[in-house]
Amino acid sequence: MKPCLSPFFRSALRAVIGLLLLLVTAAGATGQQPDPGPGPGNSPAILYIEANTGDSSGGHAGIRIGNQVFHYQYGNRGWLVLRRESWDQFRRFYNDLGNRAIFAARLDLPAKIGRRIHDRFTLELLCQDARRQQLTGARDRVRLLAALAAGRPLPRNLRAAGFFQPETGSGGPAAARLKRIVGERLGENFICDRCRKLRRALSRPPESTATFVSWHEQRSRLAALEAIDRELGLRERELVAVPAGDRKPDLTPRERTRLREIKQNFRETVIRLLDSRRPDNGFPLLLALARYLACARSLGENRLLLLNSRPPQAETIDPLYQAGNRRLLGQLACQSLKLAADRRLRLFQATGRAAGRLSEFAWCRLENAATRGAGLAAAAAGRPRLQVFPGNPLPARPGSGFLRQPFSRNAARKRLARAKADLKALTREFDRRYGYNLFTRNCVTELFTTLARALPPLDAAGSGPAFDRQQRQLINSISFIPWRMFNEVIAGLHPAAVTGYPSLRQRYLADRYRRENDLLVYLKECNTLTSPLYRAGGQDDSFLLFTGEAGLARPLFGAVNLAWALPRTAFGLLSWPFDDGRALKKGFYGTLFSLPELFFVSLRKGSFVVTPAAATTTEKSSPPRAAPKTSPAS
């Protein structure tokens, strides 16, 4: 038990120290004059993101270059990983949903240096991704050998193999036609010969992670060949229908013509990939085959059906939140389905050059919008377990294919110990390279380490195109506390401009104060019960009063919040067996974050799961403004 708890103790210690640091060091305003903000060029801007409760409760840091933001996030297994978002997305996540003010210090650097910094961060991202793939390979190898050693079926980790029904001939005339064309174009025995060769190759157990990657690719290729050979069809539950806006979902004659072209496009992709020299052609083959069959089925049923793109790691929304927000989910479903309908319209109305070639990117986005819309609509109608996912992932429902026992249990058993040792070593390497440490490796330290690596060396006289020796020293020894880092950047790196982006609530309040009676607005907006903007629940803890604008009354407001949260904590202890400790968690966090408020420090600002309807008027108009003259931690 003890070894399991020690990471928690470490995290707890880190957390308490983090809170103390914030309490002790919270000071120093960074009020700056308004300016144009980070421009569209490549001049980098250091970002400081205000603290709030929940995630990144000690504040956060990032770097904006052009329209992209790079930042290090604390992720799974305690690893600090580099992420990249578009500036719009980043603002949406942190500025709007996270309800945190963002401050940007634009550095005065030549465009060439900006490009160099951007490339360095991108390269870090690519290297990190390659290492993660290696780790995934090591994990999959252990899973495979463990399953085979125990006589269990092979793991269901072949991407896109899960779209297919196992019954031979379930694909109907479209699958049969494809098989015939493959035979005509590549040879009658092409599939059988390739399958035989692959089975022979797969009978040799993978000796290392590197050979496992190749082994797994071959398994995937075999699954694709067998899907064609057995004329497999798609599983009903792996398809989502795409609405057609205001009209009936039926395909119009024009859409049918276009869909036939798209189907043919996917068929040609399948045939080309069968003969491709790509070592990893199994997954794209399975995906193109599934898309081809989805198009064929759409034509058969006269409605557009696409692959369900929800990835296996999609996160399930808190059932309580889901139950309490059916109406909101209904609105989101409408928005998402409308988006899918719009994309459908654009894709099928494409003319000229755009129509000649199908954009896979656009098709994938259509699949994602339809999947999200269908999931939200089902959740709004009462189906539990809404699963959500970010980005534009390729549909990749995993399956296991038809391979059963490629090599003996004994052979698997012999190699399992070695595979586990390899995985352990690789995990240790990851811990060493990406392990989080509050003081020495956090979102600030890693950001500046990468920044320092990106800079060209100084000449003998100590000068260069970017930063002098003193400034380089500052970059190398920057404070690990986000807001202090930002103050040091302003003082030492002499940014060309500093811009503040008020949080969603700040913008909303400013707008209302401008238009309505100050006192009435304040009375309505100072608490979580009557605020039209804020909705209690979501991921926030229990609190009653917003202390951000309370000024000298903050300790009093904090005491009220404490009195509000304590009984909830007590109630949470009683309800723990019935709600998995949810109420206790909210009550405890409410208590914890009320304490700094007693000492004039306000960390809690409230957050949003989705952009509230009341804020849509201010959401559009969110130009950069002067940084508010308040403490970053207040």
Partner: protein
């Protein structure tokens, strides 16, 4: 008392996870988006951004691969990973992939005359020699 302290410590640790952001918030927000999200302008902007980012990543990756003396299989796998992150599985047929590879070759300092003999590219180009012109185009851009 000891157990209670442990509980408090655990809860505090959960309360103050550093530098993270909720995945579900992010994911759900992509479903919601702003009202303007459904406009074609937004989609076009995102597609343009994807093209630029994809091209830049392929260029940097190619440059890096040439410096690390990686084999062709590793190169293809890397290209596939980059493409997949942008919602693309069939990167082999995209002209932009080859233009970006050409730019990567130039960045890596490869001699123009050596391009069509590079072992890293031979398997990629042998089924589609026409794509060489896009590599050259990228190299000369």
């Amino acid at each position: 008392m000891k157990k209670f302290s442990l509980l408090l410590c655990l809860l505090a640790a959960f309360a103050l996870a550093g530098c993270s952001f909720s995945y579900s918030s992010k994911a759900l927000s992509e479903s919601s988006s702003s009202p303007s999200k459904s406009s074609s302008g937004d989609d076009n902007k995102e597609e343009q951004e994807y093209r630029q980012t994809f091209a830049n990543e392929v260029m940097l990756f190619t440059d890096n691969m040439l410096h690390t003396q990686a084999d062709a299989a590793a190169f293809y796998r890397g290209l596939a990973r980059i493409a997949e992150r942008h919602g693309i599985s069939d990167w082999e047929t995209l002209d932009s992939t080859y233009v970006a590879i050409g730019r990567g070759l130039k960045k890596a300092g490869v001699d123009r005359a050596r391009i069509d003999t590079l072992p890293l590219l031979s398997e990629l180009l042998s089924p589609r020699p026409k794509m060489l012109k896009y590599i050259v185009k990228g190299y000369e851009s």
